[in-house]
Symmetry: C2
């Protein structure tokens, strides 16, 4: 069986993008400013990672207005939902593997 | 409460480095060739990531011999063990958050 990290997709696993996918998963759609604040990002950094996710078909970006104010909304595509679930499955395998090791080897929990 | 991905450290979270730390955690020390095969990496790629981990104080690299063959061994430092545990804790928080959302919102599990 291949190591769990071999099955992770860098597009999804990267810290900021994983955050975007997770937050977008919590609602039908999320607003750009909300994401930026929740994930403590600059506008440029968030835009850059959204572009990667959009090109990979994992999110859709929608521009619109709320009153007179321009707004950018982000929502997960079906492929985005699947990609997030795959990532979560691999992470669970990884966590199980790390924790089984710890349980099997008391020395691993010794302060050093 | 800050989003779980904000608490992840890029040095540890990066896919290949997370793999190295997880495999190194399974034994007192692991041999370079074993790591390379287990994580399906090139020599150059593995060396590069080991250097990042060594500079961060998360692994120690030891060169030696097995018979006449040069061998490179890698082992986790105490800081490396802690860093891996911190990563695992944040990942568990993330997984809980994603899975609670799914449970709370049946629409999120609809095929689309």
């Amino acid at each position: 069986m291949t190591h769990p990290t071999n099955g992770l997709d860098d597009v999804v696993h990267q810290r900021v993008r994983l955050g975007i996918l997770a937050v977008a998963h919590e609602a039908r759609r999320v607003e750009f400013g909300f994401l930026r604040t929740a994930l403590d990002l600059t506008t440029g950094n968030l835009s850059q990672h959204l572009t990667v996710l959009e090109k990979a078909g994992l999110v859709e970006i929608e521009k619109g207005y709320e009153g007179k104010r321009g707004r950018t909304w982000v929502h997960l595509t079906a492929a985005g939902k699947r990609a997030l679930q795959d990532e979560i499955s691999q992470l669970k395998r990884l966590i199980r593997q790390v924790e089984e090791t710890r349980a099997a080897d008391p020395a691993a929990t010794e302060p050093s």
